[in-house]
């Protein structure tokens, strides 16, 4: 081999390596930068009082975001209760029976829904619930978030169910177990870990959605008031405080953002740890 050619190839190789490494660093560095900046700006405002107090009127110190935290928990929780079962069962249908044209349509629709802007989903929930009820409510916020969750959970469930080897299904069928029991009692538990983490990640994703909540849950400066009234949520509170002219509120916005980020990070890390293959399998 030509020595000069070889030397040139080595140089190109090293150059490409450096280039790709730099891009990777930019990608991961962005996350670190965001986290770092938020932590820097928000950490000082976090205190136990901050987490447990209700917001105080402008100008007064000591306001907190307790209502937003509780509100997010309620809205996201109800959204999960509505969206996860629908998504999981839909995913079960697609994985078990999903070969015809109907299944193809469902799959296609779910994929498209994943791309619909969340504000459009919020408008839909507005038209569906807020307008007839003539009031903003936690319920409508949950419905909007559920609409966003369903296609995510559905496709994720389907993928994890398909990962279960067909031999498991065969083994269960060969024991004389009816098909629906095989799906529910054997396949679903086998894919359970993956499906659950998918649901968790979907929850973390919608926990940060702001746009649909603006005209469904609407936000509330006071303690929440049941499901049929407007309710405060973390992302919405961050939005409200960030665009206000008050510095105190700006600081609170940074702190609330940090809380939200910590929550999302925790869920992601938990999901990754859970999904790690156990050391006992002999595949």
């Amino acid at each position: 081999m030509n020595d000069a050619l070889y030397a040139r190839r080595k140089k190109v190789n090293a150059l490409m390596f450096a280039l790709t490494a730099a891009c990777a660093a930019v990608a991961s560095g962005t996350l670190l930068a965001i986290l770092g900046y938020i932590a820097w700006k928000g950490a000082s405002s976090i205190s136990w009082a901050f987490l447990t107090n209700l917001p105080k009127p402008v100008g007064e110190h000591g306001g907190g975001i307790a209502n937003a935290i509780v509100g997010s928990a309620k809205v996201v929780g109800l959204a999960g209760l509505m969206g996860i079962p629908v998504g999981v069962l839909g995913g079960v249908y697609l994985a078990e029976y999903g070969r015809g044209r109907y299944a193809f349509a469902v799959r296609y629709a779910a994929d498209v829904m994943n791309g619909v802007p969340s504000i459009v989903v919020g408008l839909f929930a507005y038209a569906l619930i807020v307008h007839p009820m003539k009031r903003f409510s936690a319920l409508s916020g949950s419905v909007a978030l559920a609409f966003i969750m369903v296609p995510i959970v559905l496709r994720n469930t389907e993928e994890f169910l398909r990962l279960v080897p067909g031999t498991i299904r065969e083994a269960a069928l060969a024991l004389g177990v009816p098909r629906w029991k095989v799906t529910l009692l054997v396949i679903l538990p086998t894919a359970g870990r993956g499906i659950l983490t998918g649901a968790l990640l979907a929850l973390a994703r919608v926990a940060g959605e702001t746009a649909p909540l603006i005209f469904t849950a609407f936000g509330n400066r006071f303690a929440d008031n049941g499901w049929l009234n407007p309710i405060a949520t973390l992302p919405h509170t961050i939005f409200t405080y960030a665009i206000s002219p008050y510095e105190d509120w700006h600081n609170q916005a940074w702190a609330a953002a940090l809380i939200l980020m910590i929550f999302v990070l925790l869920v992601n890390v938990t999901a990754r740890v859970w999904l790690r293959p156990s050391s006992g399998s002999s595949h």
């Binding site: 083994a171 069928l173 177990v177 009692l185 086998t190």
Partner: protein, 270 residues
Amino acid sequence: MDMMRPMPLPAVKEGAAPENAAIAMSVRDLRAGYGAAPVLKGVNLEIREKTVTAIIGPSGCGKSTLIRCLNRMHEAIPGATCDGEILLGGRNALAIDPVLLRREVGMVFQRPNPFPTMTIAQNVAAGLVLNGVRDRALIAETVEKSLRRAALWDEVKDKLDAPGVGLSGGQQQRLCIARALAVEPRVLLLDEPCSALDPIATGRIEELLIQIKDQLTVVIVTHNMQQAARVSEYTVFMLMGEMVEYGLTRRMFTQPADKRTEDYITGRFG
């Protein structure tokens, strides 16, 4: 003189005469295929009760399709068709509820497939538990009995709560056999059960098949002719979707009636 008295003659065991055994399953004019291509072209045969029947033949001859028709597992593949008659104790297996059929005709597959989320005991009991049996004592007793029949009890009796997938390949396959035996089927089908295993594990499974044939009927598909010769009383030779010859193993391997059988058994093609 005492030394002149003849010694008592040692007893000679009479060879087994399975020709008179009752018929466990009979297949009449079985035609099956996937989509347009026919795989089985009118197969007729009879499976004798409490014997081991081996099905041999070159790749693509339809032996796996045949055995899967016997417990209707071929229906799990979309586009699969199956016509003809399969009689199990007088009822047509193709007409009754497949779930009920499979409780009487169990199957063990080529690659061991224990349920990954279940322990050893749970795996063996799966057939019972999934079908609604709740009696704990009965389940525990069945688990032990099935593991003994599968020659696995001694190796796992101290770790029944360990995950099923933690066992070696040969042990996993015996676990699958125990699991299939736990529902007390009349017929046990095995589709090349040893092809993924080493010779020692294979030998163990062959031994246990010879033991359990006293209690139920065994049908085994194998591409290993020596295994068929060692283990079975009856052999079925299939070629291109047809049943070429079927008879006592000891006769098929010493004087086959059909030249194609002779050529396959002596390795002239395959």
